[in-house]
């Protein structure tokens, strides 16, 4: 598709020339088109009956194609959440031509299309390949799309930009010959900031990039064995510092131990978190270290020159010198309270003077969390071209981010977003809810999840009230598989089946951030109508108990669960 939506820009470069996405070279292109043709042949073999559905299943999963309740679902990888405006427009086109006009952003920074036809999928994959995109390893028992901090390369608190390492891991894990038939799926997350925005401790492997202050060497603290699902665990630290050069070798060692010893008799016990916990962390880490000690490390050595070469894809965009304070921004805030409110919830400090990071909420009150229409995607692409170097990011909280917006441009940006239904001032607030597909799409669901999210958002629709409550993360899953991350919600909601009826349990005190914690169930569940009241009771209890400046989890940590329990269950 030509860039007909792009306004003429300040120069004759493509509008997204500086977007920090990895650009395919000839080698990558050869691979991606071969892979599309391979899948086309596989689909044909399946349609002709030459392979069984059972044999086709892992193949289609490895290409992102799931079978849901009503139809196939295609999950497209957004490597570490980075997109160029060209790619966003292509996603919009796919939504419009091959789907019902929208896409759904996931908690792993990917995008899903819910209604593609099997016979169209190879063509969709070709359309993606044309813009350096794919759906490889977005499902299946393989190493999945590596996720990271949505503010990387822009956040003021970042120590190391994780994208170059995420890209190295993406390449290393792509069609890995040894680790594509693992006991279970395998998720790696990486962050380079002390404020973990990538929830690394609830991943199979979590990496925290850091720089050794004295030597200047970059490396990773490696966590292993975290996960959500039906038995949630926080990851344990395997090593405090693995230098960059050694990281692939070290990961090979972890994966090899897991591939050989992970359980294959029960899919609910097959994740690495179970292996680590059944065996004991010390023993498991001991096995990794033994494996690593004998590995032919030279083979896996990541030459610093490779890092430098790949780093060029993530070069900072050409920021300009700006004053720290923008008069027009300050004036707009003073004049327009709705804008001022948005700036309080949806902006994050940028490391460069005069710029800001803007979060675009995909959680309009009453909407479906994470859904975006084709038109909205095109609007975002246009705005990215105009205001943020043609780059868009996807967050694990199912929102979008424009990472490099001049403060001077924020008011115009917000007005355009608001006109497109994308300007809700609720990032990080009570209506910025993560919800799994639940009964609306998922065959395993016990309960609805999306309608619960919608009704909570409607109950708290008043944005002033939301802002007054401050940061409060609600996460909802329609069954114990925990796709909606309920274990790490400040308020988690878990749908259970009680004699054929929907019931909802409340968990309190989960946290996906730096102080990662798993929430605890407060007591008996509530029915579909009762759960909304129960959430409000929890919130009102917090308001009564909070001290000035406290957010929900701080109050909870100070008071404990007792007053909340009492408020929920002592009602006559």
């Amino acid at each position: 598709m030509p860039d007909t939506h792009s306004p003429a820009l300040r120069s004759n470069q493509p509008a997204d020339a500086h977007a920090a996405v990895y650009r395919y070279d000839e080698f990558d292109k050869t691979f991606i088109f071969e892979r599309v043709e391979q899948f086309r042949a596989q689909v044909e073999r399946r349609i002709k009956g030459e392979i069984t559905e059972e044999e086709f299943k892992p193949i289609r999963l490895m290409n992102g194609l799931y079978l849901q309740l009503h139809a196939y679902m295609l999950r497209v990888a957004v490597p570490y959440g980075m997109l160029s405006s060209t790619q966003v427009r292509r996603l919009a086109r796919i939504a419009r031509v091959y789907d019902k006009g929208y896409g759904h952003f996931t908690t792993r920074q990917n995008i899903q299309f819910n209604w593609p036809k099997l016979e169209d999928v190879p063509t969709i994959l070709r359309e993606l390949a044309e813009v350096d995109m794919h759906a490889i390893q977005t499902s299946g028992n393989c190493i999945r799309n590596v996720t990271t901090d949505q503010f990387c390369g822009a956040a003021a608190d970042e120590l190391v930009d994780p994208r170059v390492y995420a890209e190295i891991l993406r390449q290393w894990s792509t069609m890995h010959p040894e680790f594509t038939y693992l006991p279970r799926k395998f998720k790696i997350a990486i962050t380079g900031s002390p404020n973990d925005r990538a929830a690394v401790q609830v991943h199979d492997i979590g990496l925290i990039a850091k720089k050794d202050e004295t030597t200047g060497r970059v490396g990773f603290t490696v966590y292993v064995g975290g996960g959500q699902g039906r038995t949630p665990y926080l990851a344990v630290k395997a090593r405090d510092f693995v230098p960059v050069e050694e990281i692939i070798g070290y990961l090979e060692a972890i994966l090899r131990v897991y591939n050989q010893l992970g359980r294959r008799d029960n899919i609910y016990k097959a994740r690495i978190k179970i292996t680590v916990n059944e065996m004991g962390a010390d023993k498991f880490i001991g096995l990794i270290e033994e494996e690593y000690a004998r590995l032919r490390r030279q083979k896996f050595h990541v030459d610093p020159a490779i890092v430098d070469a790949i780093q060029t894809h993530f070069a900072p965009p050409p920021w300009v010198e700006l004053p720290a304070i923008s008069d027009s921004f300050e004036a707009a805030k003073a004049a327009d309270p709705a804008f001022a409110r948005w700036t309080r919830s949806n902006l994050t400090e940028h490391k460069t003077r005069g710029y800001a990071i803007a979060t675009i909420s995909l959680k309009p009150i009453g909407g479906i969390p994470g859904d975006a229409e084709a038109d909205q995607l095109e609007t975002v692409a246009d705005l990215a071209d105009l205001y943020s170097f043609g780059e868009v990011r996807v967050t694990h909280e199912q929102n979008l981010v424009l990472a490099h917006v001049r403060q001077d441009d924020l008011y115009a940006l917000w007005k355009a977003l608001d006109a497109a239904g994308l300007g809700t001032a609720n990032a990080g607030l009570i209506s910025d809810i993560i919800a799994c597909p639940g009964l609306d799409y998922c065959a395993l669901a016990n309960t609805r999840a999306i309608p619960v999210a919608q009704r909570i958002a409607e109950r708290f629709a008043d944005l002033d009230r939301q802002h007054d409550l401050g940061e409060l993360k609600i996460k909802i899953s329609g069954c114990i598989n925990a796709c909606g991350h309920h274990h790490v919600g400040h308020i988690g909601i878990l749908g259970v089946d009680k004699k054929g009826e929907e019931f909802f349990q409340i968990l309190l005190g989960g946290d996906a951030g730096t102080n990662a914690a798993l929430g605890e169930i407060v007591g008996p569940g509530f029915d579909y109508d009762g759960i909304i009241d129960a959430v409000e009771t929890v919130v009102n209890t917090f308001v009564k108990l909070r001290q000035p400046g406290e957010i929900f989890i701080q109050t909870l940590a100070r008071t404990g669960h007792a007053p909340f329990k009492e408020a929920l269950y002592a009602r006559a």
Binding site: R23, D25, E26, F27, T30, F31, E34, R35, E37, Q38, A41, Q42, R45, E50, I51, E55, P58, I59, N141, I168, Q171, W172, S173, T174, M175, H176, P177, E178, F179, T180, Y181, L182, I248, R256, N259, Q260, R264, R294, L295, R296, K299, F300, V302, D303, A305, I306, A309, I310, T312, H313
Partner: protein, 169 residues
């Protein structure tokens, strides 16, 4: 059952012995790990080659000390989804420097064939009704590989290509 090498059926010299079958006086035989352990002397006293079958839950370490006497190690895929043998093959090659034949048998699909060759497997056993062009084709479908493995050492670590100035500006 037909044995494929580089995608094509070959004349196979090996006899795959069940545990209750007598050991023939002559000819190369493949036996289970258990039988190898109990009848090792009888097996090595013969002139002809011996191979051992490993189940998917039997790690390469189980036969590490015996590899000098074995001309073949056969790795089982009870279900194609059970990918333990991928690691077993690689351990045989990279950790134990095994130079003999590695064979994969059981439930294997063509889509795994390229991966098998990349972890050091030489031959695969497939049911007669599954022999077809898909196998040879599977080795050619994807011509690039992104990570170091076995066989195509040079240029295999795609990451290294970034050193050759091929990175687009």
């Amino acid at each position: 059952m037909p044995v494929l090498d580089r995608g094509l059926p070959i004349d196979d010299r090996w006899t795959d012995l069940a545990d209750d079958q007598d050991i023939p006086a002559e000819g190369a035989v493949i036996v289970s790990l258990e039988r190898w352990r109990t009848e090792r002397d009888a097996l090595t006293a013969r002139r002809d080659a011996v191979g051992v079958r490993l189940k998917s839950n039997q790690l390469a370490t189980e036969i590490a000390d015996d590899l000098g006497s074995l001309s073949l190690v056969a790795l089982e895929f009870p279900k194609f989804r059970d990918g333990r043998a991928f690691s077993a093959a690689r351990e045989l090659r990279e950790r134990f420097d095994y130079k003999g034949e590695i064979r994969a048998f059981g439930h294997i699909i063509p889509d795994q064939y390229l991966f098998l060759t990349r972890v050091g497997v030489d031959t695969v056993v497939v049911p007669a009704d599954r022999v077809g062009p898909a196998w040879a084709h599977a080795l050619k479908e994807i011509s690039v590989a992104f990570q170091p493995a076995l066989g195509r050492e040079e240029g295999v670590s795609l990451l290294r290509r970034h050193l050759k100035g091929t990175v687009p500006a």
